[in-house]
Symmetry: C3
Subunit: 248 residues, 3 copies
C-alpha cells in the first residue's frame, strides 16, 4: 500500500492490497476499495449523502481513478473501473466490470450500468438511466430524465447493449436507444431508436441500417456493429465470441 | 468553526460563526463568509483579479459550496447559496438568495441573478447576462454574449422570472427569454421568446403555449407554469403564494 | 521562486526563474518550466503516460496556469501560455506562443496548434486535430476525430488561420474549416468550410461571405475578418501588420 503522506484517509475506510493513493486525496469513512487500485491526486472519495441510505462506495479490484475525481458513498463498481480526470459520480449507481468514465463526466446517480461500458469525456448521465453492456457514449452527450422540467416525474433514458451515441447528442426522457444502434453526432433523440439502425438530426430521424455504413479505412467493410473491427481494450474471450459471429 | 488542519485560510478573511472548511481548501484575503456556511474540500475561494475593483467575495449565511469549486473576489451571493462540485464563479456577479449552481457550471461574471435561481450541471453563463427570479437552466446550456465573436461589443442574454431553458440550448446574444416561457432541449434561440410560450428547434420556433404541455404523470394537468406542481426546495411562504394563484 | 510550502515539487523537475507555484499543486519529474511562470493551486503538472514516449512537458516563459489544471508529460507550449481553471491537457501537443486555453477545456493530445490561438471555456479538441494561427474556438465546441466511432481509423479536424468557430459546434472528422471562415453557433459541420465564408446550421450550410456580416455596434463595418476591429491581447507588431491590410 502506497498512501501519499499528504493524503487524508479515514481509518474507517476499507482498503485492499497494493492500493496507491495520491497527494491531497481525501478518502472518507464509508468506502470499500478493492486490491490493486490506484487513486490519483486531489480526489474526494466517499462523499457523504443521506440519499445513499448508508450504503458504502465499493470500488472493484484493479481500478484506476484519475486525479480530481469525486465519488459519493452508495455506489458500486465492478473490477477494472477506469476513470479520466475530474469525474463526478453520485450515489446509487450499480455498474458492472471495466466501466470507463472519461474526463469531466457527470454521473448523477440512481443508474444501472452494464459491463464494459465506455463513456468518453464530458458525458452527462441523468438519474434513472439504464445502460446495457458494451455501450459507447461520446463527448457532450446528455441523457435527460425530465419530460417537462422541472418536475417530480422522472423517466430515465435506456441505452441497450452495443449501442453507440456519438458526440453532442441529447437523449430525451424515456427514450430507448436499441441494441447495436448508432445515433449520429449532434442529434436530438425524441423517439425510440430501433435496434441496428442509424439515426441522426434535430430531431433525429431514421437514416438507414447501421450496417450500411462503411469503414473509411479503404476496406469497404461494414463499420457497424463495431465489434466487427474494434477490439482494443476488451478481453480475449470476449473478442473470440465476437469473431465467431462476425469473422465469417 | 471547524477548519480542517490542511486548509489554508488567510487571517484577513472574514469568517462567520459555525463555518466548516474542508481539507486542502484555500481561502484568500478578500472574502466575507456568513454564518453556518460549509465549504468542502479542494476549493479556492477569493481568487484575486483586478477586474473585481477591490470588492470582496461575499457568501451569505447558510450556504454550501461543494468540493473543488473556485470563486473569485468581487461577487456577492445572498443566503443559502448551494453549489455542486467544481463550479467556477468569476467576479462581479450579484446574486439573490438560494441560488443553486450545479456541478461544473461556469459563471463568467458581470451578471445579475435574482432569487431562487437553479442552474443544473454544466451551465455556462456568459458575461452581461441578466437572470430573473425562479429561473431554471438545464445541463450544457450556454448563454452567449458576442453577436460576432470575437468583438468588444458584448450584449448579454436575458432570462425573465420563472422561465425554463432545457438541456443543451444555446441562447444567442441579446435574446430575451420571457417570463414563464419554456425553451425545449437542444434549441438554438436567435429571437426573443414571448412570455408563457414554448419554443424549440434549430433555430428555435414557436411551438405553442407553454400551458398546453400536459404533465406525463397521468394527471393531464398543465406542466407549465411549473409552479403549479413543482415545489421542492422552496420556502412555504413562496409555495403558499403560488397556490393562491394556481390551486383554484 | 515562490513555491507554496504545501506544494509537492519533484526535485527532478526543471523550474525557471521567478516561478510561483500555488498551494497543493503537484509537479512531477518530467517537466521543464520556463521563467516567470505562475502555476496556481491544486494543479497536477507532468502526469506520466507511456504515450509520451519519455518526452517532457515544456511550459514556455511568462505562462500562467490557473488552478485545478492537469498537464501530462510529452507536450510542448511556447511562451505566454495562459489557461483558465481546471483545463486537462494530454500528451503530444505542440503549441506555439500565447495559446489561451479556457476553463474546463479538454485537449486530448496528439495535436498541432499554432500561435495566438484562443480556446474559450469547455472546448474539446480530439486527437489529431490541426489548428493554425490566430484561431478562435468558443464554448462547448467539439473537434471530433472518428468517422465511425469507435474505430481505429482517426482523422482529425483542421482549423485554418484566423478561423472562428462559435459556441456549441461539432466539427466532424476530417473537416477543414478554412482560413478566416466563421462557423455559426450550434452548427454541425460535416463538410469543409471554404475560406472567408460563413456557415451555420445542422448540418451547416453556406450562408454567405463572412465579410457580409456587419458589426452591431452601429458602425456598419464588416465584422470579419475580425482582425479589422478586435485587437485585445495581441502584440503591437501583429496589430500593425493587420492595420496595414485592413485600415485602408
Amino acid at each position: 500500500m502506497t498512501i501519499s503522506p499528504t493524503a487524508v484517509v479515514s481509518p474507517k475506510a476499507t482498503i485492499g492490497k497494493n492500493v496507491i493513493i495520491g497527494d491531497f486525496t481525501v478518502i472518507l469513512d464509508n468506502v470499500i476499495i478493492g486490491d490493486n487500485v490506484t487513486i490519483q491526486s486531489h480526489c474526494l472519495i466517499g462523499q457523504q449523502t443521506p440519499l445513499a441510505d448508508g450504503k458504502p462506495l465499493v470500488i472493484g479490484n484493479d481500478s484506476l481513478i484519475r486525479s480530481h475525481s469525486i465519488f459519493y458513498e452508495g455506489s458500486q463498481f465492478g473490477e477494472e473501473l477506469i476513470t479520466g480526470h475530474r469525474v463526478t459520480v453520485r450515489e446509487k449507481i450499480e455498474a458492472g466490470k471495466n466501466l470507463m468514465i472519461g474526463t469531466l463526466c457527470d454521473l448523477q446517480g440512481h443508474t444501472k450500468i452494464g459491463n464494459y461500458v465506455r463513456c468518453h469525456s464530458s458525458v452527462h448521465i441523468g438519474q434513472k438511466a439504464t445502460i446495457g453492456d458494451f455501450v459507447w457514449i461520446f463527448p457532450y452527450t446528455v441523457l435527460t430524465n425530465d419530460p417537462h422540467p422541472p418536475s417530480n416525474f422522472l423517466v430515465g433514458a435506456k441505452v441497450e447493449n452495443y449501442a453507440v451515441i456519438a458526440a453532442q447528442c441529447c437523449i430525451l426522457p424515456g427514450v430507448t436507444v436499441g441494441e447495436k444502434a448508432l445515433v449520429g453526432a449532434g442529434s436530438l433523440v425524441r423517439q425510440d431508436v430501433a435496434p441496428e439502425t442509424f439515426v441522426a438530426g434535430v430531431p433525429a430521424k431514421y437514416i438507414g441500417k447501421a450496417s450500411d455504413i462503411k469503414l473509411k479505412d479503404g476496406s469497404n467493410k461494414s463499420a457497424y456493429p463495431w465489434m466487427r473491427h474494434f477490439h482494443r481494450g476488451y478481453p480475449q474471450e470476449v473478442i473470440d465470441e465476437w469473431m465467431k459471429i462476425y469473422d465469417k
